[in-house]
Amino acid sequence: MLRDRFDQIMMASLVVVLLFTVVVLVGAGPDESNHVNSAISRHLERERIYQARVAFIDRHFSPVIALRDSGALPEALLKLEELHRTLPGEAHIDLLSGDILLRMGQFDRALTKLAAAVRRNADYVDTASPLSQRPLIESAVSEGLPLVRDRLRSQPDSRSMAMVVKDGYYLQSRLAGGCE
């Protein structure tokens, strides 16, 4: 069977590889301490991401929030337009636009912007997240959705309004714990 030295070397190599595989498989079995460690590191990783995100929002959006809070709503919207140049596609731009438009009484636009924000970042409807904006989104849905539904009833062929109502239902479902 092992006719020459080459066959012997091949057989020996095969045995070594098989032994090594067995050792690796046995070593990779469920280990409680490994499991706990990885859960902790995942948790820490998430904490770090949240902290970074909160710091990022504070750094870029505090001027907008200051304008909003002082009642300078048109200026706050303009500031967001400016940020849009440097942070295109940023969910917090949509979120703050929705917030400001809601304060301006533009319910249909607010619902659309807030739905876009939640589609980009589900943290806004997560109670446990430090980024949660549930009170804002709840008030947009409770104030805005009945108005846009009424509007759609009076104008059933309006596709734009149908889309806004759809956005309102989407937010309602996400607030209720529904998935994407």
């Binding site: 200026e75 303009l78 400016e82 301006m104 636009r109 596709r159």
Partner: protein
């Protein structure tokens, strides 16, 4: 067998013909487009939309650029089947010539609506409308709902009569009037300006101005934006078809012109179209009455 060959021939002919452009039939549909800045710009913006409408409606369409001040008289003379103009022009043509509402243009933060703002430089000592007494102000063109009407009305509502209390006010000439009023305040030629919220938004987005350059002293309620209307003489089925083509437009809709494939909405600076109700224009009517502007002007 004979019948089968005949059916197959008809079927294949149909398939081949459906691949060709639809032949344009009937008299041309004349569409009047209000000039925002210049005839060249208007034609460049709206040619793709006009060609697209032509293809979808199967009728030749003619784009006719028209000066804002001439729009009513030319409409009354029967020059246009459809018109595209600002929301005050819609109200004027509705009241005086029974223009039919087709669709409203969407653009910017407020969608199918816009607003008029009164702005000053960020470092200006002017803090409220009352502080404008004895100051110099520049307005947009007189028939602009968010460049003149809304701001004039805002001041009247605040108990400030611009005609009596401003030291001086001016209207810009030539093209790019809305941008001119914004720059006029930026460079200090005027103390305050009547700027459309949409122009402030677009100029900020394009980096022409910074949000930190100005303060907004007051901003009007939102009013409908630019609007397509149809002459009452146009067949209602054609009006409905025209509306459907506009509402079906998406940012991806393209048309080929001179060997180039162009995005129809992008070219026209439009985000899309929406159907509003005539009563949505009531705020414009109220403002026009308070400001004593057409179609309610009294001497």
């Amino acid at each position: 067998m004979k019948y089968l060959i005949l059916i197959l021939t008809f079927f294949l002919t149909g398939v081949v013909l459906s691949g060709c452009d639809q032949p344009l039939e009937g008299p041309p549909i004349r569409i009047g487009y209000m000039n925002c800045n210049s005839v060249e710009e208007t034609m460049e913006r709206f040619r793709p939309l006009t060609v697209y409408l032509e293809q979808q409606l199967g009728r030749p369409c003619e784009a006719i650029p028209v000066d804002t001040q001439d729009l009513e008289s030319r409409f009354a003379a029967g020059e246009f089947d459809f018109v595209h103009g600002n929301s005050l022009l819609y109200v004027i043509l509705k009241e005086n010539h029974d223009l039919q509402l087709v669709a409203t243009e969407k653009r910017g933060q407020f969608g199918s609506r816009t607003a008029g703002a009164i702005i000053v430089r960020r470092d200006s000592p002017i803090q409220s409308l009352k502080d404008l007494k004895g100051k110099r102000m520049i307005f947009g063109p007189q028939l602009a709902p968010s460049g003149f009407l809304a701001q004039y009305d805002l001041m009247l509502q605040a108990g400030f009569d611009p005609d009596r209390e401003l030291d001086y006010y001016a209207l810009p000439r030539g093209t790019f009037k809305h941008e001119k009023v914004i720059y006029a305040v930026y460079f200090g030629d005027y103390d305050a300006a009547a700027a459309p919220a949409l122009d402030l938004e677009i100029m900020t987005r394009e980096g022409k101005i910074s949000a930190d350059d100005f303060r907004v002293l007051a901003q009007s309620e939102t009013i409908p934006y630019c609007t397509f209307g149809a002459s009452k003489n146009v067949d209602s089925k054609l009006t409905e078809k025209f509306r459907k083509v506009l509402l079906d437009l998406t940012p991806e809709t393209t048309v080929e012109i001179d060997g180039q494939r162009l995005k129809v909405l992008d070219a026209a600076w439009i985000d899309g179209f929406e159907t509003l109700l005539d009563k949505d224009y009531d705020l414009i009517r109220v403002m026009a009455k308070r400001v004593n502007m057409p179609p309610y002007q009294e001497f």
